[in-house]
């Protein structure tokens, strides 16, 4: 157990020096503590609490014990135990230490807190996976969210320490991940508001900025505020480090539908580069105005799109596609009948839809056209009785970003 005593010694001195960085390194799952836990677990020994309490100051001995137990549990494949041990034994104490001091004194704990927050999230999701596999209620992640709130409170409510406030951004990033995973989107807004209020965003690290922007953008997309979503997601896309293509892909997964709704199509190369083949037929459908293709690819990729939460976004593309198709019909009609170029008969449009294998009954067709006009995809009016769409003389098909994407009724 030479390693253990060496480890404890080093940790004790780091704590004494208040060297948060070093302590955080030692108290991370990748430190030599992992090896010690491995040895303990293989030998079937308990965490030697006595030794820890002899060498470490008061709250830390218990915390380190919990931490080592967590690692041992992890090593034994008991994720839920490990997670609980970490949360209740280690993270909770750390959070209360942060909360106890509102000043700058506990600033050195920041690296520890951030490390704990990140570790807790990872442990919790693993524990939940394990629990779900066993059919038990998987509640570790929601417990984790509560712990994270404690960290956030400890950091963000600091009166005098700007460092702590800045660090709270990192915790919020973890919180966002957890909330989105938990489907508790409504909880996201409060910490984001607080960040905005305190103007913490500008000081944040680039990585945190990207993370926050990504989640803010997704929130905006859920709220049907597509312009805002576009702004945030574009920022995230542009500033995400190119060395993590997976993150870029995540951003793109939301950015592409939002952009398409706003009339910007992704290039084939982009889709290929980031491995998003499921968007390819949709891109093509939007480009060609092929409603049949859109519907069929939505159908065939339904599970995947629902999984990634983009199904409803993509379904909204229907009107974009229909507009495109109708524009084509109008152009054809203008060539066929230049005299009445602006009066596009619905029968022509119906025939176009039929070519794509879509049968709409006349009422639905009217309904579709009424929606297009109502939502400003098309300028003009519908002559119901004569089944003709009378297009505006100028700018009959305004750019898509001018379209009222949100439900006009719900918005009021």
């Amino acid at each position: 157990m030479a390693q253990l005593s060496g480890y404890v010694h080093e940790l004790a001195s780091a704590l004494k020096r208040k060297d948060g960085q070093r302590a955080a390194e030692l108290l991370s799952t990748t430190s030599s503590a992992g090896l010690i836990a491995h040895q303990l677990a293989s030998a079937g020994r308990p965490v030697p609490t006595g030794q820890l309490s002899a060498q470490l100051p008061e709250p830390w001995s218990d915390m380190v014990t919990a931490f080592l137990r967590c690692l041992v549990g992890q090593h034994n494949g008991e994720r839920a135990v490990a997670c609980k041990e970490f949360r209740e034994g280690y993270a909770a104490s750390l959070a209360s230490m942060l909360n106890a001091d509102k000043g700058t004194e506990s600033e050195w704990l920041i690296p520890l807190a951030l490390g704990a927050a990140a570790t807790l999230k990872v442990l919790s999701s693993m524990a939940d996976e394990e629990l779900a596999r066993k059919g038990a209620p998987a509640n570790q992640l929601s417990e984790c969210a509560i712990s994270l709130q404690n960290f956030f409170r400890g950091l963000a409510t600091s009166k005098s320490s700007q460092a702590k406030k800045d660090a709270s951004v990192a915790v919020v990033c973890v919180m966002m991940k957890v909330y989105f995973k938990l489907n508790a989107i409504n909880n996201c807004k409060q910490p984001l508001q607080q960040i905005e209020l305190n103007r913490l965003f500008d000081n944040a690290k680039e990585a945190h900025k990207v993370t926050l922007r990504y989640y803010t953008g997704r929130l905006a997309a859920y709220d049907e505020d597509f312009l805002k979503a576009d702004e945030h997601l574009t920022y995230a896309f542009e500033h995400c480090v190119t060395t993590s293509p997976n993150n870029i892909r995540r951003v793109l997964r939301y950015l592409i539908p939002v952009k398409m709704l706003l009339g910007v199509l992704p290039s084939e190369g982009l889709l290929r580069q980031y491995g998003l083949p499921e968007y390819e037929p949709i891109r093509r459908a939007v480009k060609e105005g092929n409603l049949g293709l859109l519907l069929s690819s939505l159908e065939s990729n339904q599970v995947r799109f629902i999984q990634s939460g983009t199904f409803l976004l993509l379904e909204r593309l229907q009107l974009v596609v229909v507009r495109r198709l109708f524009r084509k019909v109008a152009l054809v009609h203008a060539q066929m009948n230049p005299a009445k170029a602006h009066q596009v008969p619905l029968a022509l449009f119906e025939a176009a839809l039929q070519l794509q294998g879509i049968e709409k009954d006349p009422l639905e067709l009217q309904c579709l056209m009424a929606n297009l006009i109502f939502r400003k995809y098309i300028k003009g009016y519908l002559a119901y009785k004569s089944r003709v769409v009378v297009l505006a003389k100028t700018d009959a098909f305004p750019i898509l970003s001018a379209v009222q994407l949100a439900d006009p009724l719900a918005a009021t």
């Binding site: 006595g50 409803l312 009424a370 519908l382 119901y384 439900d407």
Partner: protein, 891 residues
């Protein structure tokens, strides 16, 4: 090991003993009273000693006697009821066990490290635990043991006998860290290990009918031979001595003298305590593959032996030896841990049914061969693999075995505690529970299924565990309670409720663990469900004729503190919200409920029951289902009928309750109109998503979740296809399609679509008013917005009118509030009125009314909903009531 063979001997004196001699080799030849190893020294570290003594015949007494202290000079072990203490000892034992295990190769070093550890332990540990006094005391005791090892070891044979006599009725803790299980089984196969000192004397047979095995091993001397993995039925084992961190202990039901049954399972990493209750108790210790203190990389390549060990622990001597052999010849990890756990389960089940181990082991060996040749050993999910038993197991029908098996199903009130090995994990318990749950069709699932939210966070793990688990579970639940006899089911309910009350009293974590343990125990021990036995729950008092009569009730009253057995025979029962535990006299048992439901359904169908009457009745039935924990087809029918009744009436709150409950029931694969109600669910979430407006994000997600989880076999059904089309229509503002679908909605779909119909109409009106410049004929609007019947949809009604209404419904066909009028003219009139109500300008142009869209722009509004009488009965309207009262007063 030796203890295990003793058990075998106990159970099958001849074959077991033979096997023992055959496979345990030279070690067996040690005389029973063989001197235990000298005090700890380098050469002894790896030498396990078991000081087993067969229990004295007199110890069969089932009276509770406090544990006797050990020999004089040895400080008495801590009382078993002290949670912390046993723990410590367990750990130490485990530590020493580990030391021993590794000592096979390097005995000196291990022994040295032992001493060092002991010193270190003494130095440090006393300050950590909350019982420092004890800790020191215990350590002193432990030291003493080392010094007096010889004497003590000699003495222990006798002392253990005394102990055994003393502990019979004390349910207590079983702890067996995995390491021990491993170690003890490693030794037989490792030739390098020093000879073990075994008490090779076969236990006297016929002691209880079946033999107890007791192993009192102390301190480190017991290491390497940790004794019984499994004590066969009939023995009463207690590890009184806190220093012997050993096998599980089970309580013996005090009532059943002939068949004191204990099952002690191998490798129980859990620290469980059974607190003695007046009722018969048991503790069942599940075997599992998830040790608390497992070392995943044991030294000296013991891993293969682990599996063999477990197999050996569970299996008969033959199988064990073979397995051990096999594992020693072929490198490590030859067996998946879950496989060994499965084997253990098989044997435990077999024992409960009096199936000779030899037969089972034959079968298992054959099966194993087959699995191995198929290469499925590592790919099979042993955790959920059904238990295998020899065909036509002998003697399982006889009453004896039933009693034996059923004894298990009684109270256990363990208190979970933390050990130094880390908290006893929730996960562990869950794991155990799952084991028992999966393997036993007779178990009922009371747990709610975890709601795993649809997370779009990471797309990698598409299939969540819970989703994929559903069909699997369903297999195990089809049998469910129904497979039990009615009477037994009632007993089951009794127990259930008793346990509930108990856990309720305790509250908190203890309660949780109690609940879980109980479930695990109850569910886990009946093997294939044939034993089905709660019958012996009331011990010897139980007799088959006492189904529901008073004596049985009295017994129940006395033993279970007044449990609910449905005895009420009334078909009619009002709902009364319970504030205390239910009175059995007011709870209807299942057959009565069945008839009550039939009656109510027919009353409703004949229009003889008002909604309020049926609401009351349904709630009463639901309550009866709940308190009796019915989760079967009947419960499904009750909830379905009530859901339909509420829908028909428009009581969405009640409907939602039923719906939520039904979702759980369906998740348990209870039969029902799954397609119909899944469709309702989709509709329900769709309409609420639509009405939630911008705050509908969460609802949309749960809707997506529901859609994604529609079982494939249902997705083609008419109801669900319709519901999905409705969703699309609502989400894409396709008003025309919505009202077309409204007209063709199967069953009660219209009742749910009504919620959003008004909003759809208004949105449609807005769109058309905005989109059309020219006046619009109202007749067209009436068609669009579903006021007038479409010419094409006339056949829809005819299709559904095939006679009987659905259970719970009054009518065959529900028109819905937003239903189209019967004719075009009426529809147009209705539509005009509606348009005017919403601010639209309707003018007469020629012969027909037209909607002046230009004039209507900017004028549309949603009229205040005229105060709706929520309870629906206009006679009860408050306004009416007041005006009536006024009139009466004036009059």
């Amino acid at each position: 090991m030796s203890a295990y063979y003793q058990q075998q001997g106990a159970h099958y004196p001849l074959s077991g003993q033979a096997a023992y001699q055959q496979h345990a080799g030279p070690q067996v030849s040690a005389p029973p009273e063989a001197p235990p190893p000298p005090p700890p020294g380098p050469s002894d570290a790896g030498k396990p000693a078991i000081n087993d003594a067969p229990p004295l015949p007199g110890s069969s007494s089932s009276e509770a006697v406090p544990p006797l202290p050990c020999q004089g000079e040895v400080p008495p072990p801590p009382p078993p009821s002290h949670p912390g203490l046993q723990n410590n000892s367990v750990q130490n034992a485990a530590v020493s066990a580990t030391g021993t295990a590794s000592g096979g190769g390097d005995a000196t070093a291990t022994a040295a490290s032992h001493d060092a550890y002991a010193q270190w332990y003494a130095r440090n540990y006393s300050s950590y635990y909350s019982y420092p006094g004890y800790e020191q005391q215990w350590y002193a005791y432990w030291q003493q043991q080392q010094q007096q090892a010889d004497a003590y070891a000699y003495a222990s044979a006798t002392s253990s006998q005394q102990q055994q006599a003393g502990i019979l009725n004390e349910p207590s803790v079983s702890v067996l860290p995995r390491d021990e299980a491993r170690d003890k089984l490693v030794h037989p196969s490792s030739t390098s290990s020093p000879p073990h000192t075994y008490n090779a004397q076969p236990p006297p047979s016929g002691l209880y009918g079946q033999l107890p095995v007791h192993r009192a091993s102390h301190g480190r001397f017991r290491t390497g031979a940790t004794g019984p993995n499994t004590v066969p039925i009939g023995s009463r084992v207690h590890v009184n001595d806190a220093t012997s961190a050993s096998a599980s202990v089970a309580g013996v039901p005090s009532g059943s003298k002939q068949h004191p049954a204990i099952v002690i399972r191998p490798q129980v990493p859990l620290v469980k305590r059974a607190v003695s209750v007046a009722t018969p108790s048991y503790i069942s210790v599940d075997s599992s593959s998830n040790p608390v203190t497992a070392s995943s990389t044991p030294p000296h390549g013991q891993n293969p032996a682990v599996a063999a060990a477990v197999a050996a622990g569970a299996a008969g001597a033959m199988a064990a030896a073979k397995a051990a052999q096999a594992s020693s010849t072929q490198g490590s990890s030859q067996w998946p841990p879950s496989f060994t756990a499965w084997v253990t389960r098989c044997f435990n089940t077999a024992r409960l049914q009096n199936i000779p181990d030899s037969r089972l082991s034959q079968k298992l060996m054959a099966y194993l061969e087959q699995v191995k040749t198929d290469g499925k050993l590592w790919t099979t999910d042993w955790d959920t693999h059904p238990i295998m038993l020899p065909d036509n197991p002998a003697g399982q029908q006889d009453r004896g075995s039933e009693a034996v098996s059923t004894v298990l199903a009684l109270d256990v009130t363990p208190v979970r505690k933390r050990s130094r090995w880390g908290a006893v994990s929730e996960a562990r318990l869950d794991h155990d529970r799952r084991h028992s749950h999966d393997q036993h069709p007779s178990s009922i699932e009371y747990r709610k299924r975890p709601h795993v939210p649809d997370s779009d966070e990471d797309d990698q793990n598409g299939e969540r565990g819970s989703d994929s688990a559903t069909p699997k579970q369903s297999l195990h639940h089809v049998g469910g309670v129904q497979s039990l006899s009615n009477r037994r089911r009632k007993k089951l309910i009794q127990m259930e409720q008793h346990q509930q009350q108990q856990s309720g009293r305790r509250g908190g974590k203890g309660a949780l663990s109690l609940e879980e343990l109980r479930r695990q125990a109850r569910a886990g021990r009946f093997g294939n469900g044939r034993a089905a036995g709660i019958v012996a729950g009331v011990g010897v008092h139980d007799d088959d004729s006492s189904g529901m009569d008073m004596s049985d009730e009295e017994v129940a009253e006395r033993r279970f503190d007044g449990l609910v057995v449905g005895t009420c025979q009334n078909l009619e029962k009002s709902y009364f919200r319970l504030t205390s535990k239910p009175d059995p006299a007011t709870v209807r048992p299942e057959p009565v409920l069945e008839r009550a439901l039939e009656r109510l359904v027919s009353l409703i169908a004949h229009g003889e029951a008002s909604f309020f009457y049926s609401l009351d009745q349904f709630k009463g039935m639901r309550q009866d289902c709940t308190v009796q924990h019915l989760r079967n087809g009947l419960a499904v029918r009750v909830y379905e009928a009530h859901a339909r009744s509420s829908l028909e009436y428009g009581d969405t709150a009640e409907f939602n309750q039923c719906q939520a409950r039904l979702a759980h029931l369906y998740a348990d694969a209870q039969p029902g109109c799954v397609a119909e109600f899944t469709a309702y669910r989709v509709l329900y979430e769709t309409v609420h998503c639509a009405t939630a407006g911008r705050r509908g994000g969460g609802m949309a997600k749960s809707l997506m979740h529901t859609i994604r989880n529609i079982p494939r076999e249902l997705s083609g059904s008419e109801e669900i296809r319709h519901a999905l089309q409705v969703r699309e229509a609502v989400m894409t503002y396709n008003y025309a399609a919505f009202f077309r679908l409204y007209a063709s909605a199967p069953h009660l779909g219209r009742a749910i679509m009504d919620v959003v119909a008004e909003a759809m109409r208004f949105a449609g009106l807005n769109a058309f008013v905005k989109a059309c410049d020219l006046p619009l004929p109202v007749s067209e609007m009436a068609l669009l917005l579903g006021f007038a019947p479409r010419p094409s949809s006339c056949h829809e009604d005819a299709k559904e009118g095939d006679g009987k209404p659905l259970p719970g419904c009054m009518r065959v066909h529900l028109d819905g509030e937003a239903a189209a009028a019967s004719s075009m003219e009426e529809g147009v009139a209705e539509c005009s009125a509606w348009l005017r109500d919403h601010g639209a300008v309707v003018i007469e142009k020629g012969s027909e009314p037209v909607l002046d869209t230009k004039a209507s722009r900017g004028k549309l509004f949603v009229p205040e909903v005229s105060a709706k009488v929520t309870h629906g009965d206009e006679n009860l309207s408050v306004n009416d009531f007041l005006s009536q009262a006024q009139r009466n007063f004036a009059g």
